[in-house]
């Protein structure tokens, strides 16, 4: 039966693949973007507002045109009755390697890192994206419809350019390439820069200075001499950071390092920064809030895994939020390829903390926003993804229960308004082995 499903999917792709190959524009509607309305929903907009009963969301040509209570379904729009179940925007993975890794430990399938490359900041992960990779369908079945995809380590301080992707069952998973540049400071940056934090800060400054030189006079920029820190391609990439065209995602954990970064960024007023990791953020939450820098944090780190995480606590996000920081959840160094669905579990855990004396968590509404509109806002794309407010992409999930609860799962998934197959290689394996006992033929014949 799974063979039948698979061939059906390939047929669909064949029909749309050529058109999609030319559809590279930012946030352009996908060629197969659909029109659909979902009614009778316990509707979660995903922007931190409370669920509304008997809600409707209308998607036209792949975009949300209306969502809420009392929304009428326009004539001619096909309608799906959610039967009172939760209807939400799809989960947005705030930190992931989906699409660029199949099996971490099999190098040929792992395009996250390129430590032997001659390039660093210029490395753009988007050509590696493989929508047929098994983690795409598995994560989609967990309700994840979009993801920020980060490059891993390069030969230099900067990792390269990350992307926003969709997890739809179609041949083009790229939503936007080059959305952000990624750099890791703190202990990791110190190691890459030669051994210390000051060396990393200096290298950061000098690489951007070279990028500025490149920008002032590209023709004069060498980029090949021995004392050049940047190839021309890397300089060009960092120039995009310097003038704010690409956001800069900065991984940093220790409270003092966060303050260092805030000071450093003061020297580069056009940079649009986002902090990632931020395990000790709660200790300097007022300063992060005052700097207006959004945060994508690990949700449940509570161990001093490194000396830059001594203050780790599961109350980190709740405390930052209470201090006015715009904060979202990301699975930083944590099942970031295969188990993006953990974002829901982590958000639920932050709700659980509101019932624990002395702990800080998030309300359910905030928690759900922290895995939908939150990551989108931290990446500056919340006008396009992460909620069901009008104008956003039609990524919608219908759930069989509270979407933050462990027992719940999607019963319908839409990406760009397109209904997604509820299939995966994992389900094929499950179905083959519901009973391991072989019949008249080996179970290799059971498809």
């Amino acid at each position: 039966m799974s063979a039948a499903r698979r061939s059906k999917r390939l047929t669909l792709w064949g029909a749309t693949g050529i058109a999609l190959a030319f559809a590279g524009a930012l946030f352009a509607a996908k060629a197969n973007a659909q029109t659909v309305a979902i009614t009778n929903a316990r509707l979660v907009i995903g922007d931190g507002t409370a669920p509304v009963e008997n809600g409707t969301v209308v998607i036209r040509n792949g975009r949300v045109v209306a969502a809420g209570a009392g929304v009428a379904v326009p004539a001619g729009v096909p309608s799906v009755d959610a039967a009172g179940q939760y209807v939400t925007p799809g989960i947005v993975a705030g930190f992931s390697r989906v699409g660029i890794v199949e099996v971490e430990a099999v190098d040929g399938t792992n395009d996250a890192s390129a430590p032997s490359s001659v390039f660093n900041a210029a490395i753009d992960i988007s050509p590696a994206l493989n929508p047929l990779g098994t983690p795409v369908a598995v994560n989609r079945l967990a309700g994840v419809t979009r993801a920020l995809v980060y490059p891993g380590r390069s030969s230099g301080l900067f990792n390269g350019r990350g992307a926003l992707v969709d997890l739809g069952d179609d041949p083009d998973m790229l939503t936007r390439a080059g959305l952000f540049q990624y750099v890791e400071l703190g202990e990791t940056g110190a190691r890459r820069a030669g051994g210390s934090r000051p060396a990393a800060i200096l290298l950061f400054r000098q690489m951007l200075a070279e990028a500025r030189d490149f920008g002032r006079n590209p023709a004069a920029y060498d980029g090949r001499s021995r004392d050049s820190l940047l190839t021309r391609a890397d300089a060009e990439a960092l120039l995009r950071v310097l003038d704010g065209r690409d956001r800069l995602f900065i991984k940093v954990e220790r409270a003092s390092d966060i303050l260092s970064v805030i000071r450093l960024l003061g020297e580069f007023p056009q940079i649009r920064p986002t902090l990632v990791g931020v395990t000790e953020g709660w200790q300097v939450a007022p300063q992060i809030a005052a700097a207006g820098i959004p945060v994508i944090a690990s949700a449940l780190n509570d161990l001093p895994d490194t000396f830059e995480q001594l203050g780790a606590t599961q109350s980190n996000i709740g405390r930052m939020r209470a201090a006015g920081v715009s904060v979202a959840i990301g699975l930083v160094d944590d099942n970031e390829t295969h188990k993006l669905g953990y974002a829901r579990q982590y958000a639920g855990n932050l709700v659980a903390l509101t019932r624990m004396p002395g702990a800080s968590g998030l309300s359910w509404d905030q928690a759900f926003a922290s895995i939908t509109s939150g990551p989108a806002a931290a990446a500056g794309v919340d006008a396009d993804v992460g909620s069901l407010r009008p104008g956003r992409v039609g990524d919608v999930v219908i759930w069989d229960g509270d979407p933050l609860e462990l027992s719940s799962a999607p019963v319908a998934i839409y990406v760009d308004g397109v209904a997604q197959p509820l299939t995966s290689r994992q389900l094929d394996l499950r179905d083959r082995y519901l009973s391991p006992v072989e019949g008249d033929l080996p179970n290799a014949y059971d498809r």
């Binding site: 161990l303 099942n335 462990l406």
Partner: protein, 467 residues
């Protein structure tokens, strides 16, 4: 922490030999059969110094109770006295005079959670190189090392497992770099100055073994055997053959030099040390089952058994437990076929299913991992009750670790290892509210003083925080 790299690099080792720890039956089994000239070997040279902490008679009243063996009682009563479960029943069970009565209405009571696979203490936090004591990755077989000799009792991970996970007992294993990584040790999850202060009295030792990718990668990359799976088996079989000969001489009282590693293997062959075999793939597990038969030993549990669902019938017939993650998959080739229904499929086939962590973070949420596995099973059409699923975290690991006569369920006379949850433990919104170990209240969410702070955390940022 980067869990994936921890897994991939995971290697630990302990090994050793001698007899098992202490318990009555196991100690008896180590007694020489012929009194002849057999040297007297202390089977328990690093004995437990753990003693139950003071407790008061306590009655938990009104909760939903999962007994850990599949039983569920609504509006139940659980009585704890002198460190033991005294009685368990419905609302008709009277609370005797002198008991501290805790109103547990709307809450849940379960046995303490048991993690059969942990590296707390031998891969502690912070995870710096100086703390990396889990793999004696210098020889493919190191049955001579003992995990207990690596454990750092000040690992902050122990208190997190207690406060967030309700973990009351856990087995610390060597890592998986080696085919035979060494002896495991079972701990009570209490803060202590020494490893002996945590050591579970009477728990048998285990021997960690590892199939598959890790041993062949670690040693193959050094240009030595094993570099293949067939090499893995060859080294294992040769070593078991040596162990059989060592045991034969020892049992016959023939003179031979003490060999610490062989002493452990001989105890495995005598049935006194339990085999905990890291093994992902179904086909490899089947080979290991045959190898165990070839040399006359028994596998207690396959760990990380992501493909157990493919041979659940064989595992049932072999009476071997599977210790599994709820949903980890894909981080290396031998985990590629992992599916979230694995635990439920193994359980449904009548084989012994356990949810384990192998992780300093997931050990804090084993109840949630079980909940995910239960939900995946139900979506596959497999009906398992919450009370039955609780076995995966309590009596099944206890049985696989050889401590089920002492803990793992709320039977009268067993250790009073108990968790009071502030809601259904299969819900994401639930946390432990209080945890008792041998009847002593060791964690109370409402009492900041009952929140352990390890020496390492003292005076550091976040000391005594809720974590």
């Amino acid at each position: 922490m980067n869990r994936i790299s921890t897994l991939l690099l995971s290697v630990a080792a302990v090994g050793g030999l001698t007899a098992c720890s202490s318990g009555g039956t196991t100690a008896a089994n180590t007694a020489p059969r012929s009194s002849a000239a057999r040297p007297v070997i202390d089977p328990n040279p690093y004995p437990s110094t753990y003693r139950a902490y003071p407790s008061v008679p306590t009655a938990l009243v009104g909760a939903t109770v999962f007994d850990g063996e599949g039983g569920r009682i609504e509006n139940g009563v659980v009585l704890l006295r002198d460190g033991k479960v005294e009685a368990i029943g419905d609302a008709g069970l009277a609370v005797p005079e002198g008991f501290t009565r805790i109103d547990a209405t709307g809450k849940f009571v379960t046995p303490g959670i048991i993690d059969i696979h942990s590296h707390l203490g031998d891969y502690p936090s912070p995870g710096v190189e100086a703390h990396s004591d889990g793999n004696e990755a210098t020889d493919p077989t190191t049955p001579e090392v003992w995990a207990e000799h690596s454990i750092w009792p000040q690992d902050p991970g122990f208190s997190r497992a207690l406060a967030n996970g309700g973990v009351t007992a856990l087995q610390i294993l060597p890592g998986s770099a080696n085919l035979m990584g060494g002896r495991s040790v079972t701990l009570k999850n209490v803060p202590a100055r020494t490893m002996q202060g945590m050591k579970f009295p009477g728990a048998p030792y285990g021997l960690k073994m590892a199939c598959g990718e890790n041993p062949k990668r670690v040693y193959g990359s050094r240009g030595r055997m094993p570099s293949t799976r067939m090499g893995n088996l060859a080294v294992n079989r040769q070593t078991w053959a040596q162990a059989a000969e060592y045991r034969r001489k020892a049992d016959a009282g023939e003179p031979q030099a003490r060999n610490i590693g062989m002493e452990t293997l001989a105890e495995v062959l005598r049935g006194n040390i339990l085999i905990h075999n890291h093994c992902y793939r179904a086909d490899e597990m089947a080979i290991v089952i045959d190898m165990a038969e070839e040399f006359g030993y028994k596998v207690s549990t396959f760990h990380h058994a992501v493909e157990s669902y493919k041979i659940a019938d064989l595992l049932r017939e072999s009476n071997i437990c599977s210790a599994m993650w709820a949903d980890w998959w894909g981080f290396k080739m031998e985990s590629y076929d992992g599916i979230p229904e694995n635990v439920a499929l193994v359980h449904n086939a009548g084989a012994c299913a356990i949810v384990h962590s192998d992780d300093a973070n997931q050990i804090q949420r084993l109840n949630q991992e079980a909940a995910k596995a239960l939900a995946a099973g139900r979506r596959a059409g497999i009906t398992i009750s919450e009370a039955d699923a609780m076995r995966w975290l309590t009596i099944n690991p206890a049985r696989a670790m050889g401590i089920d006569m002492m803990t793992g369920s709320l039977r009268p006379g067993k250790m009073a290892d108990v968790v009071l949850w502030n809601g259904n433990p299969f819900s994401v919104y639930t946390r432990p509210e209080r945890v008792w170990i041998d009847g002593a209240l060791m964690f109370d969410a409402y009492n900041p003083r009952l929140r352990p702070v390890s020496d390492f955390e003292l005076g550091q940022p976040g000391e005594g925080d809720v974590k």
